[in-house]
Subunit: 315 residues, 6 copies
């Protein structure tokens, strides 16, 4: 018997047994009055519809996001594969499985990424900005390695914030050199590193690390103000000059560029302007990257909400 | 000789001697090549053009906002009164004058206003919100008595923030009762009291207390985030529950109602919604009050920038 | 047998017989080819799904909004209560039931509300404005006691316009005193009373008094112009000075504040400005009040269309 | 001596004596302390700067818009012609002059225009719409022959409303035939004729018939609502069916097309849609016609406020 | 047996056999596990749901837009007619049917329309503009007779572009005379004729000539730039003066009026302004014409996406 | 005698003689009736007011933008330096002066810049895109070395387009590597190189190479469509595949990102998206660079039109 086949590799007729994420679940009643569970199972490679016939519970909608151990077969319904589940139970602390196989993760090596970030932070000339950035790196390293950068729009996988932060730092580094000496490299690098750290508090996360929703303070305060407050407190604790603390806060508060995109103030110094542009570039490229992967050459996507348009994959 | 006549009461032919504010000043050269000072003098009752003929300085544009001691006569030019100054010098620490006569002040009794605010704060049922508000009242009472609420749009006179705060508290109190029990009166009163305290850092002030411009942190951070940070710190120092601190911050951060009007987040609870509406009501009424005072019945104003329209004074 | 149990109090296994509103109805065919009626029954306390099995009519979609007499039992389907109806017929003139139990009504005492409005109208100093307001009160008192203030957004229950008008008058009265003498109290109170009277013609109403849709003249002319025309005619009939009639019309025509919210002209005098602000306050508070009642503490609502955002119910 | 030379034909050295409009006037004091009048004189062909040296009054800013009798010479200042006035006095009832020579008039024959309008109105098949239009034509014929259609944007000359109305009726007539039978020709023609009649009350006019400003009711009510009210009253007096009256009002109230352009409601029937489009066509063509007349082939205009752009005159 | 009954004339119980368009098709599985085809059949008169029971294919979603030969009966389901199909196969080259009966066509006589266009083009005084228009008429006559003017908004039937072009030319001709001599008639007629020719490349068409979607170059370049390029090439090939070519391109590039409606530049000469207005008039009238045909007198439509509002059909 | 002193180095009392640009000129009449020329002289280092007393011409406003040879002295007026000119004449073909000293030039070495561009173009893998770019490089090299990238907003100096193009290519190159393999490097580099070449036709240039205004085709067609047309023609002449030509045109037509910023279509493939972002980055950085150079540390600028805000120069 095949054990724990990757969802993207399942074929008609396969039997399987192993761990998957219960991505969706609805208790239903069939035409003949029997209860069944209409579910979706997922792992890092994809998701598939599944049915647990004659199943009265207890597993249901309240368990969405949990890992389940299941046994079943790959069948077919209306031309698409569909799983028929014989046994299902919630995984508990005695179960052994590899989370990295169950949820999507950033296509990067996290140790290399962290190491490159450490080097970039160490390369700042200004010791004040460097101190704030390094202090907050140490405080948040574990979360940085783990959390997504968003609920769904872009970088919504494990390690998403790490990937987003690194690519933005690389771009900030390049622009600091391209536009030297007009740009204050240390300020730009520090602001870039700090800009999304408030996301560690803006979201609620599932047990497996994905974003399930905005947290209450994420909705009522937002990651810009949360991040600026933490930067201010850290700068004060380290005895950094007031103006530098203020500039760091300004970069964080303004990094969405325009009030209608969530900026608390508009960027008013060059480094703030660049940070908001770098964030636009990296976010939009990632939205394209993820959407293009679903398209064939010569094909247009459906309308993409975050871009307010359809996009085209050329040859 | 008349001494220190109020500007609104000056008449053609009057001689005067006393203290005025140098509201504007430009060094010029007359047709015949002689230097003269083109100035505007003001007191709490108004402003008037003035000339200091054959005057090479040293007083000039750099002294705008200072108090000067002058002697002169009231003349006329093209149908309007104009002052001719014989002597002018900057006032120094030995000069004795009453600031209240030199700059516009709020048309309220400051002691009564403060006393009413104290009572309203004391009337909150929730001791946590009350504690934060009272703590910040004590810290800022002196500034609250003094500073304007704006550079020019509304309440731009000495005591303007005090008047604005009091009228908004009265309205908040009324609405809390009108819409009881849906409204949390303590939260609304506390948020109303705190909402503009960040203005103590948002502006630069002249020696006489008027707003001369936005401060650097006023521009780059803004009074909403400055105020929310102070509220958060105060709440933390007093050991107030996190959720209450967060709600207070939310009210402050959202009190401009819409991102395009400067709100860092949009109001998402009823008290935040009401605070932004109360702020609109009191600001707009004051803009009308000041503009209507300049109009005759049956007359339209010029276009008022802050209202984006002309207004009408009916009979 | 329990008779006419309130919907909010129905429990599994209850038998019931009585009058309810047919809130929705669709004729369907079951899997085995038999006709049945898929319906929703409602009363003032709520609504519930219901099935009339093996029912070929005549009652169907064309009877939505009517009162029906039904007999049935409370069952369950997929974890939710569902009614099974044995008998159903339309109520006719011989049936006796209490409308107030069938449709939602404003949570106020209508007689007290009317009496308070009468007092407020009588308290106006200006006899011209008072005369117009009192004349139109007498003409519309019956409708005012009955009609909702909207189809669905806020105050969409029986007596909604009465509740909305009274709360706005109370607020207008308070603001007139807070901002005396800048505000013309009589003009503000009269305009507030008149502002939504055009809604008596803007809507079509069901037999039970709820709004079913906009009327043709409601769509093509709108309640602002309809109301202003009636005010103009009444003022002319009473011989009120032209300027006062014009000001009343101006308040009515501008009370939506901005052209994009439906204002025929923008408010240009203080009382018109205040009226549009008071309307915003009372409408928004009521939207919050109704939405908060559906939420648990600590919970966010779904996006509320009229507010363009989600709202939060705090502890 | 040349008498009353047309301003567009004045040449350096000409002496003149006659009637002109005092288009602008400011009392000033010359360098040597002497009073003089800085004025602009105009007639139907143009306007020119003028000086009345050593002139202490009484004519001044308060007489702008009046006709003056002047005697003077055509001189030159900084490369431009300038009038030097020897004598000036206000014209009174004993003076005889031709208004048509003093103010710009529409480039049409008013009798022919009126006669064509009469024919078009008479050609409507629907006797109800025809009756309202003819009734209001009789009531307003005199004003229609005289008043401008605007203060300055387009058709701001004597007879402007007549020209605008006729061209729109011609276009309405053409479209009714082009899109027959979808268009109700009578409704479209009637609405077109009525659409701007409220302008007779929206403006204040100078003695010579030009628009000096908006009237109070023009500002506070607007010509759309004023016109709709008059149409409603006329229809009621004539006993026209309610729906027809409502449709006429709808056309008038919606003819600005969009709320942000002043429409009280948006057009919701085809004839209302067409009326707003016809109004756009005729207004924009006239703005172009007037602006192109000031340009040379191959030249761009300055930015034209009403069009929000510069326009080009091709060969 | 009735053969090929028009869909709008089908009645319960009719048997039919003939050619229809497969407008929609979905393979489904019934409750008892049997495959069936859920389809919609259409002809020029309408569309109707159809079922092919126990049908495993091969016809399915991939054949939408093709002509099928079917045999079946007219039944009923939940109060609406529904077709039951016994036999279905794709039509091939041996089948004989009349396309004009299968897809909607413009309600005009195409030969007369073409002939009137030819006359209007021939009537231009300017031989350069005439030459370009006539050259492109010859090149595109066949497509002009056939293609729709849009995918769905208006004129989306066979011959739609021809009808749209002719009505716009008639209106352009009328306006050129109404506003002579301000309008350059030849430029306006030529630009009107050319304005939408780029649509021949902007769309993909089904075998029957309807628009199925935007083409890749239609999405990435758009019919304005495609049309302007072709006009430029044609003008260059014919040796037309540069400025005239530029003006033609300007009219084509700007005919959507505003950037947010797709204009590459805003109209800056009168003929460009008129062209964009004429396009608005004809498009909107057609949207109304098509929507009004679906309404009863006294009824409002649903919200019409392209108009952003509901419309009313009066008596 | 000092000859041709740089304007930024002039000091009170200096005599000078040499070539300057007549940046502004107005003929005026002094108080005593004498003609004089009120002028501004400029060179690459700055500009200064100048007076030519008792000067009746012929030099005047019509000569603005020309080079003049002048002799004069540096005086002072109201505290600012002012030039008094004794002799002035237009430079003609016999005069020898260095244009680079008279107008601002890009702060780059043009030969190195061109050489780097040549290398980047040669480095494209795709021979089709490379061929188009190299062909247009050869055609436009001379203009590319010379023309500004704008009239005034940014890069408005000699060589501005060269500097803008190079910095954008460097950034395009970096992003192609950062986001490999998602980005098609050849397409992005080619599009970046081509994107502003239409500016060679969009502007009129002064004899010294600065932009004086938009050309007629620049206004009526715009540099996006002009550039796309030239790319299409070049691609066709070189026999490049249609899809590649279309993608190049798409990049050029969409590089302003949004219709309201002038894009003819919105970017719909990743390289188009990146091009518009790169253009934003480089334009905004240059606006900041030029504005920051005018500010002191700690100072805010005036409102900058192109950024819609004030900017801050930090320490």
């Amino acid at each position: 018997m095949h054990s724990n086949i990757r969802i993207s590799e399942m074929q008609l007729g396969d039997a399987f047994e192993g761990y998957y994420v219960l991505k969706a679940a609805q208790q239903k009643t069939s035409q003949n009055g029997k209860p069944f569970l209409n579910a979706t199972l997922s792992d890092a490679t994809g998701a598939m519809d599944a049915k647990v016939w004659d199943y009265p519970g207890p597993i249901g909608a309240q368990d969405v996001g949990s890992v389940v151990r299941v046994r079943g077969n790959v069948g077919e319904f209306r031309g698409a594969l569909q799983l028929t589940i014989d046994r299902i139970r919630l995984a508990d602390e005695n179960d052994v499985y590899d989370c990295a196989e169950l949820v999507p993760v950033a296509p990067i090596d996290p140790d290399e990424a962290v190491s490159e970030i450490v080097s970039l932070l160490a390369s700042m000339d200004d010791q004040d900005y460097r101190a704030v950035a390094q202090e907050l790196f140490e405080k948040h390293e574990a979360e940085l390695r783990r959390i997504p950068a968003a609920k769904s729009v872009h970088h919504s996988f494990i390690g998403g914030l790490l990937m987003h932060t690194l690519d933005m730092l690389r771009l900030a580094d390049f622009l600091s050199r391209l536009y030297a000496p007009t740009v204050d490299r240390s300020l730009l690098l520090a602001g870039t590193f700090l800009h999304d750290l408030g996301k560690t508090r803006e979201f609620d996360f599932s047990a497996l690390g994905l974003v399930t929703d905005y947290s209450v303070e994420g909705q009522l305060i937002g990651h810009l103000v949360l991040g600026a407050q933490e930067a201010a407190e850290t700068a004060a604790a380290l005895g950094i000059p007031e103006e530098k603390s203020m500039l760091l806060q300004h970069l964080i508060l303004s990094h969405h560029g325009q009030p209608e995109f969530g900026a608390a103030v508009v960027p008013q110094c060059l480094e703030a302007e660049l940070l908001s542009l770098i964030d636009s570039v990296d976010s939009r490229v990632e939205i394209y990257r993820e959407a293009l992967a679903e398209l064939q050459p010569g094909e247009f996507s459906q309308r993409i909400f975050a871009l307010e348009k359809r996009i085209f994959r050329h040859e």
